[in-house]
Symmetry: C2
Subunit: 161 residues, 2 copies
Amino acid sequence: MTTTNTHDTQILVDTEVPLVRIIREFDAPVEKVFRAHTDVDLFRQWNGPRGYKMDVPHFDCRTGGSYRYTHTTDTGFVAGFYGSFHEVRENELIVQTFTFDGVPDGVALEKLHFEDLGNGRTRLTATSLVDSFEDRDAFVASGMETGVNEGYEKLDELLAS
Amino acid sequence: MTTTNTHDTQILVDTEVPLVRIIREFDAPVEKVFRAHTDVDLFRQWNGPRGYKMDVPHFDCRTGGSYRYTHTTDTGFVAGFYGSFHEVRENELIVQTFTFDGVPDGVALEKLHFEDLGNGRTRLTATSLVDSFEDRDAFVASGMETGVNEGYEKLDELLAS
């Protein structure tokens, strides 16, 4: 899959292993994109779909730390997410786990690679690995694309502000 | 693969996904087998190959906690391991991440399922998922089998004491 607009989000399913790869470029330096993922006051401003209320009761973004946050829709539905930060390597890598409360036995291992493209631009490659192709395909079919796209558009706005 | 001795350890490579499955039964109640994994004073007594010195500088076995331990050989080689406890569900499940210091970019997502077989017996099924078949096969070929077998033999002894 190729895109002509560098700000499009590519969501690619791996053919060999049950993994989703999300690739997105940002017009901001790697330090700034990284900090928008590790600083809770920035993270809460862009994560998730538009129009949701974001609450972050716990966010300790360091190697060995953990997090919990919720998205609340305007109809009052609350979706909770939690996980651990396995490793946080400054301006380079975050390895974390991820579970949605609605699927309590599901867990993904996520790696976020931050790549300095020069000229104040950054490529983020996020992979999400689960232990079956069915679960991976269900995740992709869940409507996650809207949340990912809208979240990164909000992140563009935050990085430009 | 089938075994005639219930105390044999089965190490099975999955054909569909890059996962190793380790199955082992113990002549002890599930509560006792679980506690040997979560109580650091018990864990340090059985984990790893025989003849290694085990040090556990950090072990916070609860949902959102993390750990670090080292094995030191009699020649002074130190192998360090660390990770996060994504979820700890009493007498049932531990979901954790695992990295060996020697392969700092490698990370496995591990699930330990504890199953009460009745009559004071327990089956432990541990899965270890990585994001490529090459890494999975390198892990299996690394000599991990000795550490797993000897560790579980030491756990048998601890559970019987």
